[in-house]
């Protein structure tokens, strides 16, 4: 019995710092609607700065002072980030802020190594909390007891702050209805800045308090960020109490999960998140979100099929691309193939995200399933390449059919999180089920048949498939189905009122996107000759999001351009420097600030400005913009 009590208390201790970080994320989201990907980075900087301060200043005051000072310092950095970066992009399309904070995260990962060096750092233990307390023969670290007390104390302070101060009232009001606060004449700018500072402070404090338990290193951010997303979503976005309950739930699942299911403890958390979201789509303590994402008047250019001139230009671009093998070497061709494959991947997500308004955070799952599909067929069934290429993507299709069914019941951030959960479940299976998937070591020897083996042949294959997929999806965008899908994105209410079964339409779109991603994955397996769990990991899902956002989420061809620019830059940077994350992150942040509509969005704006310079008004009743097909 004592053992279970101690196990429970250990879980509570882990919950405390998870709660600190999660509550910060939740507050920030509640008020600013920003999904702050950099939250883990702030957590990590908090730990690094606290390490430096606590090593520099001795004694109890040095330690506790150092921890608090570190959190304050990071909060100050947060203020700077909010003022310099986020303020400029609050009005950008939803999730663009995610791209910006993702860029920051990349930069921070390299920066901490530059500043603090590559070694793992182990800080000192908390003065006064070094030992353990005996509990019926079991030892409980006294620092754990401190954390167990700290969690509810912070919850209490936050509660007082929100209930008893004018600032707290404003924050709560803004969480419920942003426009209302603006109407109240509150200085929204400073409210947002202060909320961001508080959220970042909590994250940094959570990081600083890890010093006596953990090692400080440059990958801490990614270790915590996913778990924190899970906690916030299970608890309900914007709910502090929810974050607390969910942090305890997740930590206890970990603590007891290892006793019952020692090998699947990571999956367990995601299974619970998926279950919670399916039963309670807004999390345990969340409230249904008002339909906030529809932002009419955002001056979106009406989508139209390409004019005949534009078609000719696209064809010319394709022909030029097809001529690459005449003058480029093998390496350039292989890079070209990789870029073509990522074009497929990006346009598949773009279809779901831009046309369907469903931003998936786990799109790599279907890319990876396509790759694994090919690997299974080629290595286990020994089927020829062409058959594998045709059948492999079906695994992505099936995955998308199953997961998509549940995911489309939700929308917005909750949809994103459920797709993330599904992707993590698939990843965990691939990573841990070594006997079938080869685990981390992957499946090797999936090389193309001789007809496609030479780099130029494979390049033509990848380019051809990419062109076909892009054209097919473009046709779908301007098909009756595409219109229906855009209709469900723009207004669920109206689309139901004109007889559209929105969930069925969205589910179909999900399956189409998943299958298309699977086609990309299938080619990728042959390009690399092997398949690894990486192929369905979070970082690949994020890559896809970045490609779409970079290209321009409100445009029809953003996915293509975003994929080409991002992938080419990424490959080049990784080849040229070890600091590729710093440079790439900086580039992304720059794009976000300078071109908040993405690359294609910016180009369209320029083109439109030029088009509009002849006498205004003439276009109003002029001949239809669309060219008849």
């Amino acid at each position: 019995m004592a053992f279970y009590v101690v196990q429970f208390l250990t879980g509570l201790a882990s919950a405390a710092s998870l709660f600190l970080v999660a509550s910060g994320l939740s507050i920030i989201f509640g008020v600013t609607r920003i999904v702050n990907f950099a939250h883990g980075a702030f957590y990590m900087i908090g730990a690094y700065i606290a390490f430096t301060l606590t090593e520099r200043f001795s004694g109890a005051f040095g330690f506790w002072g150092g921890v608090v000072m570190a959190a304050l310092a990071v909060a100050l950095i947060g203020v700077l980030v909010e003022m310099v970066l986020l303020r400029r992009i609050y009005h950008a399309p939803e999730l663009f802020q995610l791209l910006g904070t993702f860029g920051l995260t990349l930069m921070v990962e390299d920066l901490v190594v530059l500043i603090w060096g590559p070694d793992d750092l182990v800080g000192r233990r908390a003065p006064g909390f070094k030992g353990a307390v005996d509990f019926f023969g079991q030892n409980i670290p006294s620092y754990d007891l401190f954390l167990i007390v700290l969690g509810p104390v912070v919850l209490g302070i936050l509660w007082l702050l929100f209930q008893r101060t004018r600032w707290g009232v404003l924050v709560r009001a803004a969480t419920q209805d942003r426009d209302m606060v603006a109407a109240l004449g509150v200085n929204q700018k400073w409210l947002f800045t202060s909320v961001f500072a508080v959220g970042v402070f909590l994250a940094a404090l959570g990081g600083a308090l890890q010093i006596p338990r953990d090692a400080v290193h440059h990958a801490m951010d990614l270790r915590i960020i996913v778990e924190v997303f899970v906690v916030v979503v299970i608890g309900g976005l914007g709910s502090i109490v929810g974050a607390f309950v969910a942090a305890v739930l997740v930590s206890e699942l970990n603590a007891f999960g290892i006793l019952i299911f020692p090998k699947i403890s990571i999956i367990l958390v995601f299974l619970v998140m998926a279950a919670v979201l399916i039963v309670r789509p807004w999390g345990l303590f969340g409230k249904p979100e008002a339909a906030a994402r529809k932002t009419p008047g955002l001056s979106v250019n009406p989508w139209r099929p390409l004019t005949s001139n534009e078609r000719l230009a696209s064809l010319a671009a394709l022909v030029i691309a097809a001529l690459l093998p005449l003058f480029a070497g093998n390496y350039a061709l292989t890079v070209g193939s990789e870029i073509a494959i990522f074009v497929i991947f990006a346009v598949s997500l773009h279809f779901l995200m831009s046309v369907g308004g469903l931003a998936s955070f786990g799109h790599a799952a279907y890319f990876g399933l396509g790759a694994y599909g090919v690997a299974f067929l080629a290595k286990m069934a020994g089927l020829p390449m062409i058959v594998c290429l045709l059948l492999g993507p079906l695994l992505g299709c099936m995955g998308a059919a199953v997961f998509g069914f549940f995911a489309v019941q939700l929308s917005g951030v909750y949809f994103a999180m459920l797709t993330l959960a599904f992707a993590q479940i698939v990843w965990s299976i691939a990573f841990q089920w070594v006997s079938v998937t080869g685990g981390d070591n992957g499946i090797l020897g999936v090389w193309p048949a001789s007809w496609a083996a030479s780099p130029s042949h494979f390049y033509w294959l990848a380019l051809g498939v990419a062109a076909l997929v892009t054209i097919a999806l473009r046709i779908a965008v301007f098909s009756p189905f595409g219109y229906a899908l855009r209709a469900t994105r723009d207004s669920l209410l109206r689309s139901e009122a004109v007889g559209i079964n929105a969930k069925r339409i969205q589910w179909t779109a999900f399956v189409i996107a998943g299958t298309t991603a699977g086609i990309g994955g299938a080619l990728f397996a042959y390009l690399k000759g092997s398949v690894f769990p990486d192929n369905l990991g979070i970082s690949l899902s994020v890559d896809a999001l970045v490609m779409v956002l970079l290209g321009g989420v409100e445009t029809v061809s953003g996915g293509v351009i975003g994929a080409i620019v991002y992938k080419a830059l990424n490959i080049w940077l990784v080849s040229q420097t070890d600091l590729s994350k710093l440079v790439l992150g900086g580039f992304i942040v720059l794009i976000v600030v300078v071109f908040p509509k993405g690359i294609v969005g910016m180009l369209e704006m320029l083109a439109q400005r030029r088009r509009k310079s002849p006498p205004p008004g003439s276009s109003l009743l002029a001949k239809p913009i669309e060219s008849a097909e």
Binding site: P302, G482, S491, G499, I500
Partner: protein
């Protein structure tokens, strides 16, 4: 006393939330080509009643029949397929699509081409969409993005969309809310004309009594969830119970405009 079922027949519609009766035993009917106004003060149960007719809300008891066919318990999109078009109090349109595309979506749905992945949507029923837009006086705006439209134009667009499936019945929730007085008159005149030409039954709720008394063929009045009066505009205007309610609020004749968009 005719044997053919009426276009819309509502019988004993009842809905309560946590012990509070929002709508209690409401019954009425509507003929093709008739324009029926549903009025009542705030909290009278108009919206609840309306939502039960269009399928967004399920009654605790009672029936709604369209040409004799039960619609109770059906989803909004199923009711639409039975020939019921609707407009919303706060317009709901596809903001990033053009005016024509908005109508085309409804036409595509009506033709059951929603899962056609290959066709060219810009060409689907282009002329039919144009005709509907002309009908509501929006022909010149077909290629404008819907997000750029003025509010009154959005209302007219909604009407065009609602007409896309050749409806037998139009449900309009506060069709003139938020519009300038002159626009209100225009829109209702247009609605009445279309209803008349196509023999469509129209049920609308409205706060503006000028609009109600000018355009409704018949009026039903709800108060505290029950139907308290029914009849021609003149009859209802003369009903002392109705006068009491509205005079109490000071709204019946001159206050309607101010009530505007609030529900």
């Amino acid at each position: 006393m005719s044997l053919a079922p009426p276009l819309l027949a509502v019988e004993g519609l009842t809905k309560s939330y946590g012990g509070i009766h929002a709508v209690r035993g409401v019954s009425f009917s509507l003929r093709s080509g008739e324009i029926l106004a549903l009025i009542g003060p705030n909290g009278a149960g108009k919206s609840t009643c309306f939502d039960m007719l269009n399928g967004q809300n399920r009654p605790d008891s009672g029936h709604v029949r369209l040409l004799g066919e039960e619609t109770t318990g059906k989803k909004p999109r199923e009711i639409w397929r039975m020939g019921v078009g609707r407009t919303f109090q706060i317009t709901a349109t596809f903001a990033t699509m053009t005016v024509r595309e908005n109508v085309q979506v409804a036409l595509i749905s009506h033709r059951k081409q929603l899962f056609d992945l290959w066709g060219s949507a810009p060409n689907v029923d282009r002329s039919e969409a144009g005709r509907l837009l002309e009908l509501v006086g929006m022909g010149g705006y077909a290629d404008r993005p819907c997000g750029e439209l003025a509010y009154g134009d959005l209302k007219r667009l909604e009407l065009a969309v609602a007409l896309a499936n050749d409806p037998k019945l139009l449900l309009m929730d506060e069709p003139t809310a938020g519009m300038a007085p002159r626009e209100r008159v225009e829109l209702m005149r247009l609605t009445a004309q279309i209803a008349n030409e196509k023999s469509i039954g129209v049920l609308f709720t409205e706060h503006d009594m000028d609009v109600v008394f000018e355009h409704a063929d018949r009026i039903i009045v709800l108060n505290r969830g029950t139907l308290i009066a029914e009849g021609s505009p003149a009859e209802v205007r003369g009903n002392p119970q109705v006068q009491a309610i509205y005079l109490g609020e000071g709204l019946l004749y001159e206050g309607g405009h101010r009530e505007g968009a609030s529900a």
